[in-house]
């Protein structure tokens, strides 16, 4: 219920939003800098895990529980599949049908940005789902012993 000490809680307030923003930055800039879908997704999952550690599990689990995590993970897969199937409008699977701008600018990837967003959502909520499963399994085992 009550997580860690007030000092950790206060610093989490300042740092958590920066971590979430940095994760989204890594996801979106996958074609320009190190990172991409999976790495950014891990950082987003790390932000959620940090809030769970600092505030106890009720702070996050009331918005994202196990079912919600797996639903969002499947949504990420569906985003990827939808943009891959949209390639058939030009001829074949996984076609880069969006306009490609000037090289090394932000919008130079075409469909890479929707693909990495899908992968990022999948990775983030799959890892967070694994974390929830591990935590609740441990609680279940403890209550069973008593």
């Amino acid at each position: 219920m009550n997580g860690m000490t007030p000092i950790v809680k206060t610093i989490t307030k300042f740092v958590g939003s920066i971590i979430l923003l940095f994760g989204l930055y890594l996801i979106v800039h996958g074609h320009l800098s190190p990172g991409g879908g999976f790495e950014g997704g891990v950082t987003v999952a790390a932000a959620l895990i940090l809030i769970t550690l600092a505030y106890g599990k009720d702070a996050v689990f009331e918005t994202v529980d196990l079912v919600g995590a797996f639903l969002l993970q499947s949504t990420g897969m569906l985003i990827f599949l939808a943009f891959a199937l949209l390639g058939f409008t030009g001829g074949y699977f996984l076609l880069n049908f969006l306009p490609k701008g000037k090289a090394f600018t932000f919008l130079s990837g075409g469909t890479i940005i929707p693909f990495t967003v899908g992968i990022g959502v999948t990775a983030a909520f799959a890892l967070f789902g694994i974390f929830i499963v591990l935590v609740s399994f441990r609680i279940f085992k403890d209550t069973e012993k008593k």
Partner: protein, 91 residues
């Protein structure tokens, strides 16, 4: 000039000596708490490595790796501290 993966040798050797001292404490430490302290400090040393590589090989995007190492090191240390307290996540 002699370099180790792009970093001049008069900068990388002190950092490598520091890393070896951290490793000595990780191997030797009597409690797990000592090992966690050494691991936390090792993470901060890796940030310096990333910054020097970004500077000397002229690849500024390595700074992203430094920032993410700082983030993951902090969260890992908090999780291990929580483990040391010997509590479940719900109390």
């Amino acid at each position: 000039m002699t370099t180790i993966s792009g970093i001049p040798i008069y900068i990388s050797v002190p950092l490598l000596i520091s890393c070896c001292l951290c490793f000595w404490r990780i191997i030797r430490g009597p409690y797990s708490a000592d090992r966690i302290v050494a691991l936390d400090m090792f993470g901060i040393l890796v940030i310096s490595f990333c910054v020097f590589m970004a500077h000397y090989t002229d690849t500024p995007y390595l700074m992203d790796i430094a920032i993410s190492w700082a983030i993951l090191g902090f969260i890992g240390t908090l999780a291990l501290a929580k483990y040391l307290e010997g509590k479940n996540l719900d109390d």
